[in-house]
């Protein structure tokens, strides 16, 4: 069993700065948990608390069936992969991987066997007698992952391991790490992984579950799809997803039977079931959130539909398979994402109508920023 459980874990740095505000997190055995959030939100701090590299100033951390608050890093059954690889520069790849094992009094041939096996898994066998400076960044990070694997830890901790690599390598390595996780699990080894990143694409593609942090607090812990479709609050909604969700400040209103909001005097009606959930908010200010793919340009010859807004095209990003249209309404900028329609005139300044799919919208409380339609 190698679950990792944080109970009201808290970190106050010696200078008095409270980096982690009592967070509760339950990482299940064998789970791939991603910690994600903007820079400075205490992802690293949280990971380092789990590793034991930072003291915990409040709460408890459990790994398996032990409270590890007072257990030194080496006895926590963890292995860590660092952003800057942290390979010992004066040792070869092989020595780097063997170094820690020697101090655990592992027999020589056992060390050798484990390194060979890990090297095969990571396809680094030819690199074993090279020194770090004779390798590329991607190769170094593979060695660093290998160094973690040979320890056969209960929990792998990764702190932004791919952020020093170029975009292409990042994509291929993230697939490899994910595969490694699957493979280790299949082999029956405990393969709980906690992975820190500030890149939401990495988070979405790798995590079994994702924990979104902001200012040392957990915003939401859930599967990638749930985070995307059911964000608990405005922060998660705008953090997850690229391009980001459109968020507009507006007021909920009601005529005889329908609840609506107004965007620059154009009326947008809410769906019936949603309207019921927000009944108590009528007349109050709220945030309306709509993902770019739920806003679509309406071609000029379409008959007038409900729930459209008129905006002025600012910029269009052509991806080939889709286009991202930035348009402005009354000084605010919105984003629509759609399949390209080559017949449309998308030159800057063109006035266009956009349809909003209100079935997929989110409404957030103006004060608490909680999602009120969940």
């Amino acid at each position: 069993m190698a679950e990792v459980v944080l109970k009201k874990a808290e970190k106050v740095y010696p200078n008095g700065f409270k980096a982690v505000h009592g967070i509760d997190l339950h990482v299940k055995d064998g789970e791939f948990m991603v910690l994600v959030g903007p820079s400075g939100c205490a992802k690293s701090t949280t990971l380092r608390m789990i590793a034991g590299l930072e003291d915990i100033t409040g709460g408890e951390i459990w790994i398996g069936d032990r409270c590890v608050n007072d257990i030194p890093p080496k006895d926590r059954g963890i292995a860590m992969v660092f952003q800057n690889y942290a390979l010992y520069p004066h040792m070869t790849a092989y020595e780097n991987m063997a170094f820690g094992l020697k101090f655990k009094k592992t027999p020589k041939d056992e060390i050798d066997a484990r390194i060979k096996e890990a090297a095969k898994k990571l396809e680094i066998t030819e690199l074993l007698d090279r020194k770090p400076k004779e390798m590329s960044g991607g190769q170094r990070q593979r060695i660093a992952v290998g160094r973690a694997i040979v320890r056969k830890p209960d929990v792998f901790l990764f702190d932004e391991p791919l952020s020093n690599l170029d975009a292409k390598l990042r994509v291929s390595l993230r697939v490899e790490i994910k595969e490694l996780h699957t493979q280790l699990k299949k082999e029956g080894s405990t393969a709980t992984m906690i992975y820190v990143t500030h890149d939401q694409v990495e988070a979405m593609t790798m995590g079994d579950r994702i924990c979104v942090l902001d200012y040392g607090r957990i915003m939401q812990v859930d599967t990638p799809l749930n985070l995307y479709h059911k964000p608990k609050n405005k922060f998660v909604a705008s953090f997850i997803g690229a391009p980001t969700m459109n968020i507009m400040e507006t007021e909920l209103d009601k005529d005889e039977d329908k609840t609506f909001v107004k965007i620059n005097d154009e009326v947008i009606y809410l769906e019936e079931d949603m309207a019921q959930k927000v009944d108590s908010y009528i007349g109050k200010r709220v945030y309306l959130g709509i993902r770019p793919e739920d806003i679509n340009m309406v071609s000029s010859d379409d008959p007038v539909m409900e729930n459209t807004i008129t905006g002025e095209v600012l910029v269009v990003e052509q991806m080939g398979n889709e286009e991202i249209v930035y348009f402005g309404i009354d000084g605010n900028r919105y984003i629509a994402r759609q399949t390209p329609d080559l017949n449309e005139d998308l030159s800057t300044g063109a006035k266009k109508r956009f349809h909003i799919n209100m079935r997929k919208c989110h409404i957030f409380d103006f004060e608490t920023e909680e999602n009120i339609i969940l």
């Binding site: 590793a51 080496k74 860590m80 952003q83 800057n84 942290a86 170094f99």
Partner: protein, 290 residues
């Protein structure tokens, strides 16, 4: 066209380094050549007689020269060894501590380095003065018989070694701390997670990684101690019975006391050769850099 322009450009460059080159030629190269020339002459005030290698032969037959050479070697070995060992020890103990604490340590070890060697020697002279010095007084209070630290053949060398080491070590500590602070912290954390003990982290990671600094400290200290003079001149005058005489001190005596300029030059040439030889690894490392 282009060529003459290039030459012009280069000329400007040479013009800029010219002052430095001239000074270097006058104050470094010329004295070295002149020293080599003088070492082949017997010099008597105004007359110079060519004697070939006789000065060198005489040197090796002079027991004081042999003793001075041996003393110098002993000083170099012990002072450099102690400086490197203690420098490593202190630096590795403090480099990762609170920054304020580190600067305090740095400051306190650096003060003797900043104060001139003459002043430090005089301070030690006061401290060790057998008549009213603090240290002899304390040893006496502690129940030992009165010790003449600088007048005793058996202990004068250790005392000189200790004093020079104490004055010098600050620089080594500073250099080591700087080198160690430059090592990325995650290396130590990786080792900590892997269960490597503090002792082995220092031995297997820290010390190998500051090897360039160790080489540098070793060489500059060897060169400095080879030329050790001020401490000897001010504390012991080479005594007792030449027990603390060094090459430099011997050179000084020959040049300015016994008026044997040729012999003194020969000593100078020998020291220059040794220094040059010892600098080879350092120079090589420096040139390899680019």
């Amino acid at each position: 066209m282009i060529k003459s322009k290039d030459i012009k450009k280069n000329l400007t460059g040479y013009a800029f380094i010219m002052p430095q080159v001239i000074l270097f030629l006058i104050f470094m190269v010329y004295p070295i050549i002149e020293g080599i020339r003088l070492s082949l002459y017997k010099i008597n005030y105004k007359t110079e007689t060519f004697v070939g290698l006789k000065n060198y032969r005489d040197l090796f037959n002079d027991p004081v020269f042999v003793k001075s050479t041996l003393n110098t070697i002993i000083f170099v070995v012990f002072i450099v060894g102690l400086t490197v060992a203690f420098g490593l020890f202190v630096a590795s103990a403090v480099f990762d501590k609170d920054a304020r604490y580190v600067s305090f340590i740095r400051g306190s070890y650096y003060i003797p380095v900043m104060v001139s060697m003459v002043v430090m020697s005089m301070v030690w002279n006061f401290l060790l003065n057998p008549a009213n010095g603090l240290i002899p007084y304390l040893t006496q209070q502690a129940g030992f018989s009165s010790v003449n630290f600088l007048g005793n053949k058996a202990i004068v060398k250790p005392v000189i070694i200790f004093i020079t080491f104490a004055i010098n070590v600050g620089q080594a500590i500073i250099l080591y701390i700087a080198a160690m602070i430059g090592i990325p912290n995650d290396l130590f954390e990786a080792a900590e997670v892997e269960g490597v003990s503090k002792f082995h982290i220092i031995r297997k990671i820290l010390i190998p990684l500051v090897k360039p600094t160790t080489i540098y400290i070793t060489i500059i200290n060897i060169i400095a101690v080879l030329k050790i003079f001020v401490v000897i001149q001010l504390l012991t005058g080479g005594g007792p019975n030449n027990a603390s005489s060094t090459l430099m001190y011997y050179l000084y005596n020959n040049a300015f006391k016994y008026n044997r300029l040729g012999v003194a030059s020969a000593v100078g040439v020998i020291m220059f050769a040794i220094t040059l030889l010892l600098s080879v690894p350092q120079l090589r490392a420096m040139f390899k850099e680019d």
